[in-house]
Amino acid sequence: MLSLLWLVPMLPLAGFAVLAVTAGQLPRKAVSAIAVGSVSLSAFIAILITIAYVVTAPAGAAYSQTAWQWIRVGNFAPAVALRLDALSVTMMVVVAFVSALIHVYSTGFMADDAGYSRFFAYMNLFVGSMLILVLADNLLLLYLGWEGVGLCSYLLIGFWYREPDNVRAALKAFFVTRIGDAAFAIGIFLLFTSLGTLNIPAILNGISAYPRGSALPTAVAALLLVGAIAKSAQLPLQTWLPDAMAGPTPVSALIHAATMVTAGVYLIARMHTLFLAAPAVLLAVAIIGAVTQLMASFSALTQYDLKRILAYSTISQIGYMFLALGVGAWAAAIYHFGTHAFFKAALFLGAGVVIKMLGEEHDIFKMGGLRLRQPVTFWAFLFAALTLAAVPPLTITFNSKDLILNQAFLSEGGLGLWILGLIGTFLTAAYTFRMVFVVFFGPEHGAPEKTPSRSMVVPFVILAFLGAIAGVPELLSSISGGNGFYSFLHSALPGPVRDFESAGDPWLLQLIYVATALAGIAVAYLLCERAPQYTRSIVSTSVGSLLHRWWLADWGFDWLYQKLFVGPYMVLARINRSDFVDLFYRGLALVSRVINGLLSSTVNGNVRWYVAAVAGGAVIVVGLVVVL
C-alpha cells in the first residue's frame, strides 16, 4: 500500500500537465473531471496510505521511496525521494483531503469564469507542489515544492489579472516571500557545505554533533526561520497575506489558509532537532508567534472586508502554531495545523458562499440577516467560528489551541507567552463573533442575488463539520489515557515532555480558556449585536479612532515598508533610469557615430574632392616611404 505513495503528488501534477497542454480547449465538464478527479484520487490514495501507515507502521516509523537520482555532482547527490513518517503522513492527508474538497467547491465557485481551465491547472499544480513539499525526503526537493507553491500562490492571487490591484497584490506576495526564500536557500547552502548532505534525517543526525547554541545551528535555524516567517506570514513579513485575498476565494481557502501558509510551520517541525540546537532562535520563534497572533487579532477586530478578517485570523492562528513550535511543542503545532486547515478553510468557503450570494460584496456592514435566509450556511459557518473561538461544549476541537497554551504555560519562562496567548484567545473569540453577528444577524441589507450551488455548500459543510469534530480522537484518548493523535505525532517529533504537577491544573486552565473565549463572544455580542452605538462611541473618541485607523492599516507596516524600502528603491531606480553601467557602451556607440558622420561627409559626390584625397593620400604614402 505504501508503495503507492508516489501517486499522491503525481496525480495532481499529471492533471496539471493535461490541463496545461490542452490550454483551455477542453469542455468545462472534462476540465472538472480531470482536475477534481486527479486530486480526489490522490486524496483517496492518501487516506488509504494513512490507514495503512497507522495500522502497520513501517520499520523505524518511516517509509521512504526513491524515484530516481536527481543530480550527481561530486558528493552532491540529491535523490527525488519521498518520505513518510508521522509528520508527513498527517500533512499529506490533510492537504490532499482539504484540496479535494476545495476543488469540488471551486467547480461551483468558478462555474461562470472565463479562465476555468487555467484556474484548475494552477490549482492542480499547487496541490502537486504542496504534496511534494510535505513528502520530500531532502531539502532540495522540499525547496522545489516550496518554490512551486510560491509560484502557484502568485499565479492565483493575480488570477484576475485584468485588475491592476490584483497584479500588485500578487507581486507583493511574491516579493515578500522571496525574501524568505532567499534566506532559506542560503540556509540550505550552509547546511550542505558544513554537513555534506541534504537528506533530512541525515541533517538532523549530523546537527546533533554540534553543541547546543553553537554558531552553525543558530545561523542555519535563523535563516530557515526567515524563510518560514515569510511563507507563513508572520511578523514582520506578514504584510502580503491580507492583500493576497485579491485571489478567488477557493484560493484563499486552500493556499492562504489551509495549506501553503503553514509550510513554515511544517519546515520548523521538520527540522525540529536543528531548532532545538539553537535555543535563541527557538525563543525567537515563540516570541514572533505570540506577538504576531496578538497584533493580527487586533487588526482583525477592525477590518470590514470579510476575507481580510479571515486573513488576519489566519496570521493569528499561525502565530499560535509558531508559539507552540517555539516552546518545543511540535505535536501541538501540527495538531493545530490539522484542525485549523479544516475550520479555517470552512470559514473561507462560507465567506465565498456569502460573497457569491450577495454579488461579490466583501463589506460585512453591507451584509446582515443572512441567518434566516441561508440557515445551512449560517449553521456551518457558526460551527467553524465556534471551533476557531474554541468553545468546548459546542465544538470538540477546542483542545488544539488549548494544548498550545498549556505547553506555553508549562515551558520555562513561558508565562509571558501564555498571557499573550490568553489575550489572543479573547480577541479571537471577539473578532470571530463580531463577524458572525454582523454578517448573519441584524437587519438585512437587500435580498441575496442568487442561491449558492450545491457543489459549493456541501464541501463547506463537510469541512465545518470535520473541523468541529477533529478533536474527538484526541479528547477520547486524553480521557481514557490511550494513544491519541497527539502522542502519534509525538513519536515522530520528540519534544520536551511536560506534565502538570497536579491533576486539577489542566481543568483549571481549561476553565480559564473557556471563560476567556466566552467573554470574547459576550463582548462581541454586546458591541456588535446588542448595542452597536457603543462601538461607534468608542471609535469616535480620539484614542479609539487613532487605534482603529492604526489597526485597520495593520499597525502601519505597509506604510513603514513603503517609506523604508519601496520609496528609496524607487528613487534609486529613477536616478539610475539611464543605467550608468551602460554609459561606457553608449559612449562607444557615440564615438562610432561621430566618426561615421565625419567619414560619410567626405562621400559628397564631388570628383575633385576625391582626386584631392587620392593625391593627398599618395603624397602621405610616398612621403612616409621616403622619410622612413
Partner: protein, 102 residues
C-alpha cells in the same frame, strides 16, 4: 652635346605634374580637367624619358610610347564621356555633376 642634368629634368617633370594636379583640383570644366590629366601623363612620360637618357636605356622611351598610346585612348573615351555628359546635364561643370554621391 651639353647634357642636361638629370635633376633638372625631374624637376621640370615634377613641376609639370604639379601643374596638372592643380589643374585637376582647381578647374571645374571637365574639358580642362581632361587637359590637366594629359599634362600629368606627359609629366610622367617626361620623367621616363629623362630617366632613360640618364641610364642610357631605351626602356624609358618605350614606356613613353605606351603612355602616349594610353593617353590617346583615354582622350577618345574621355571626350566621348564629356559629350554624353553635356547631352545629359547640359553643363560641363564637374561640381554640378555629383549625382553619384553616396
Amino acid at each position: 652635346m651639353a647634357t642636361i642634368p638629370v635633376e633638372a629634368g625631374f624637376i621640370v617633370a615634377g613641376l609639370l605634374f604639379l601643374m596638372g594636379l592643380l589643374g585637376v583640383l582647381v578647374r571645374r570644366n571637365v574639358i580642362y580637367i581632361l587637359l590637366a590629366i594629359e599634362i600629368m601623363l606627359n609629366a610622367a612620360g617626361l620623367a621616363f624619358v629623362v630617366a632613360g637618357a640618364h641610364w642610357q636605356q631605351p626602356d624609358g622611351q618605350v614606356m613613353y610610347f605606351f603612355v602616349l598610346t594610353m593617353a590617346a585612348a583615354e582622350v577618345a573615351v574621355g571626350l566621348s564621356l564629356v559629350l554624353q555628359m553635356y547631352h545629359k546635364f547640359n553643363t560641363l561643370d564637374a561640381n554640378l555633376i555629383n549625382k553619384m554621391r553616396g
